[in-house]
Symmetry: C2
Subunit: 410 residues, 2 copies
């Protein structure tokens, strides 16, 4: 059997996890409250938004910084952000309600919220939802699906991936990730330190030291996604490892790390592709940078440029804008050495040579348009200066992004 | 007579300046080449884009760093950026052609370009345009108008302001500014150091030391405008002072500074309002910041947020996004102390108290929508921490911005 295999599965695929998704009434009709429960207390690794304005659940969880979680409750429709002291009290009440239902310690309850900023949560509805979700906790694909649906806001695609991986010591473990996120996406999550909410369940065992590796994986996956450059007040990514598969700590197992990276990269790309109004996935590959930081900065600046994003929406071969964005990134490079390539479908077009475009003919420019006229467009920038690289994901800027966000609160 | 008076006038209103605007053929039909000439050599103060990828004319002018200019030629339709060695040679040829026509030293010829990035300039057309513009140089409102029209790209409003100011020593002087800029607007111009191109003519006398004041005025005016957060490869702002009004140096004359600030602020607001696809002007006023840098950073982050901009387009009272953007700015503040006010027309709505919204009722939220439903929306953020302030200008993000930029090169 292969060491790692992508499988059909969801948040309850790893052993010992249950989930539910219910309608609490915060949203008019859709499911709006999800719950995940591990039958044994799980080691928890959490990345939080770096935005100075942090939502109430983020504030509470950062303060408690619990190394163990048994349950996570997620409500959608209301971000519980910009809600002052009352918001904090509501989070504490949510934790207590979940703890009472599941007979666990409130400190082992994680809370994530997403939705409109600046409105108080209706706790009557939330309490009802928590109680109902606790009763409906279950395993299997139906539970997975209800949970994933309950955490969505403007998402149009359910975001879940599962992988089965055999560790070096022979233990068979599962990793599953479920995520939401479509707009206000430009996470820079720090361990203890998007609104993307992500929860990863695994039945592998992880030691507390795994936190730094979780940060590194976040930095290469979710933290390299940007839909609009706007970092949310609520971004949170929780990894729960309950050890139900047995075996020793998987911290340094290369197969485990690789499997976790695989699902996190898949989820990152899916979030980008499902960016509000998006019609195309843009992948920016920066190589040859002097530092990792430079590579990431360059990738993010290109991914975030409204002019680059609009050009790709229209398959408009205005590649000068990519270089404009690179020039604004603060990343080091010599223009004369930069190699820029645009790829889409089977077409790969080299653009620059010695600081000027390779071609000027309208007919050649037409090839760039053909490359851009694909569901997935790759912008490869080789700075030819050093050995560091980074990959970032984003999406095009479309009429629908404007429409969605011009009438969100309405 | 008042010390300072806004007057109907243009780039040739100050004594000793002539201008022209012609069709060179770079654009299909519209005017595309403008020229300004001062009959005596003028002290020149120039701010250049901070983008690492600098257009050929910017590179050449920064290198020469001439303290005196007699003429400036501006072509629109082609940015002469990302054009390598050939681009540089074309700029030098443009300077020589203008110098030959006007019988001046090539080093005293300024060059600015705007338009598509990554295409070589057609020098046959440019030479023809230069020759024709030199012959058509004139004073008066018709010349002003032709010049201002010739430098436009996606602009829909001609951008020019004039002011008459009596200096403390009694000298009567004139200041006029003409500008273009609509997209790729987020200038951070440094002296010796947009694509906004701006030219200011004045018949006052200025000493070389005025450069630092020009930087300060740029930092408070053009450098606080952002249409899309994308800084151009070509932004340039040239101030020409030919001293034809006589009198002593106006460097430290408060009336002169105030008059120059007035026209530069007016032009900054006009550029923001004429942002690509814009339907509204957004002014962000940040007060109570600990440092000037903090105040500017906060204003810029709010002005640049696609989510804030889309919300204002739709008059969607989603004020939480303003705080989300503030939280991402890196500016220091205590959330509990921040006062946020939204103003539009005669309506002024306080939003925050102690870190939470003042009101939660749908009826109150409706008032925010009414305030936002104005041609000019003011977002006032008082950080209540220090004494520094800044004002930034931007515009809403609309369907038309996407349309314009999805088919620019086409």
């Amino acid at each position: 059997m292969k060491m790692m295999e992508i499988i059909e599965g969801g948040i309850t695929t790893p052993q010992g996890f249950k989930a539910a998704g219910v309608h609490s009434g915060v949203k008019y009709r859709a499911l709006d409250l999800g719950m995940v429960f591990s039958e044994v207390s799980a080691s928890a690794f959490v990345g939080y938004t770096n935005n100075e304005v942090k939502a109430a659940p983020v504030q509470v969880m950062m303060k408690e910084n619990s190394p163990k979680l048994s349950a996570v409750v997620i409500n959608s429709g209301n971000a519980n952000a910009l809600t002052g002291r009352r918001g904090i009290e509501d989070v504490i009440a949510m934790k207590q309600a979940v703890a009472a239902e599941l007979n666990i310690d409130p400190i082992e309850v994680g809370v994530m919220s997403t939705g409109l900023i600046g409105r108080f949560v209706d706790m009557h509805k939330i309490r009802y939802g928590i109680s109902r979700a606790a009763r409906e906790l279950d395993t299997g694909r139906e539970a997975d699906g209800l949970f994933t649906e309950a955490i969505m806001t403007t998402d149009t695609i359910k975001k879940e991936y599962s992988v089965r991986v055999r560790l070096e010591d022979g233990t068979l473990t599962y990793i599953s990730v479920a995520s939401k996120g479509s707009g206000m996406i430009s996470p820079h999550m720090k361990v203890l330190h998007g609104t993307t909410l992500t929860i990863v369940t695994t039945d592998a065992s992880l030691s507390p030291a795994f936190g730094s590796k979780w940060q590194e994986i976040l930095d290469n996956s979710l933290n390299m996604v940007s839909v609009d450059g706007d970092q949310s007040t609520n971004d949170t990514a929780i990894l729960m490892a309950n050890g139900k598969a047995g075996g020793s700590f998987a911290d340094d197992d290369p197969e485990f790390t690789s499997a976790l990276e695989t699902v996190m990269t898949k989820i990152a790309k899916t979030i980008a592709l499902d960016g509000e109004g998006a019609t195309k996935l843009i992948e920016v590959q920066v190589t040859g940078a002097e530092s990792k930081d430079d590579a990431r900065r360059a990738a993010r600046q290109i991914i975030n440029s409204p002019l680059v994003k609009s050009a790709i929406f229209g398959s408009d071969p205005n590649y000068g804008r990519i270089m404009m964005a690179l020039g604004n990134s603060g990343c080091k490079f010599n223009l004369e050495d930069v190699r820029l390539t645009i790829k889409g479908g089977d077409i790969e077009v080299p653009i620059l040579d010695s600081g000027a475009p390779v071609f000027q003919e309208e007919r050649s420019v037409e090839v760039v348009r053909m490359a851009m006229d694909n569901k997935e467009v790759i912008i490869a920038v080789d700075l030819a200066l050093g050995k560091e690289s980074a990959i970032g994901w984003g999406c095009d800027l479309t009429y629908d992004y404007v429409r969605i966000n011009a009438e969100y609160a309405t």
